[in-house]
Symmetry: C2
Subunit: 181 residues, 2 copies
């Protein structure tokens, strides 16, 4: 991703944080992470993140989803004997989120995925999060989410975060931080 | 605390959450915790809390401070061999907070404590948190905080929370949840 493109997505993400009335510092704004998951199609599959704190015990982030943007299916595997994998809570602050987890598939999902990516979305139990709603995921369970047509801002509270260990259903995905390349 | 008084403080706290544009559910609103620390003087020394999630790994809360309200000095001691005590991050979302921790005392503190309680406030290293600012406390370190004249709303991200184990400097304090009594 070119620096100019990164800055464009960061500015757009900042706009959503402003709509949600969630103030961030200038330093945080300059360092908004834009995850394209190595697919180079941020518009459809991507995520914007402000990491407030990530230490060996807990993590807190703000997630921004542009309208219809998808965070692709993945799970957080066990890391060692004392760590069963990342546990996380999503709390919708603004907009609407369609969250999909393991369980009974919904008949008519609100979420829409690109046709060529369908095989990489295997869980369809639907949870709809509106502002003030939240959902806590058990470690090592598959999940993905997409924002509604207005976009969304979601607070994530979790155990320690280590994105590099995430396992994605789509083998083409690489979860590496996007920086000027 | 009488139920009528609890409800009054809950309504007031909800007003601050609305000012901060932090939506909570009706169920959460009815269950806002009002901590009076056993001092029966919520106006001056007290805290209002919405606990979003508290599990054996992490915890996330919204804290409301009425104008000038004080969360009294305390620390989170080690709990067992594997737990050095609660670690926590305060992120100001709205208003202003004067946070006091161990370290070089400030010469002219912004925080003001009632004269008869002064002996129970022993750390005076001042950190001022405005919206978007945050501070992470090491476990088992003394701290207290007070909101500015407008009140404040603060997100707390932390390791697992167990209020009952908190150690307060003021021996008159009992940290028990306030319910209809």
């Amino acid at each position: 991703m070119k620096l100019s493109e990164l800055r464009k997505h960061q500015r757009r993400a900042l706009g959503f944080l402003k709509k949600a009335r969630l103030p961030i510092t200038a330093h945080e704004a300059k360092n908004i992470e834009v995850a394209d998951f190595g697919l180079n199609d941020v518009q459809h599959i991507g995520l914007e993140l402000v990491v407030y704190e990530n230490n060996d015990r807990y993590c807190a982030k703000e997630l921004v989803l542009f309208p219809g943007q998808i965070c692709p299916e993945h799970r957080h595997p066990p890391r060692d004997a004392g760590n069963p994998g990342k546990r996380e809570t999503f709390r919708c602050r603004w907009g609407k989120v369609f969250l999909y987890v393991e369980g009974e598939p919904v008949r008519r999902p609100k979420g829409k995925v690109p046709a060529d990516k369908k095989p990489y979305f295997t869980v369809w139990h639907e949870i709809i999060l509106k502002p003030g709603d939240q959902y806590t995921l058990a470690p090592n369970t598959l999940h993905w989410f997409q924002s509604g047509p207005q976009g969304a801002v979601v607070s994530e509270f979790s155990s320690s975060s280590d994105d590099e260990s995430d396992i994605f259903t789509d083998p083409n995905i690489m979860r590496i931080p996007v920086i000027d390349q």
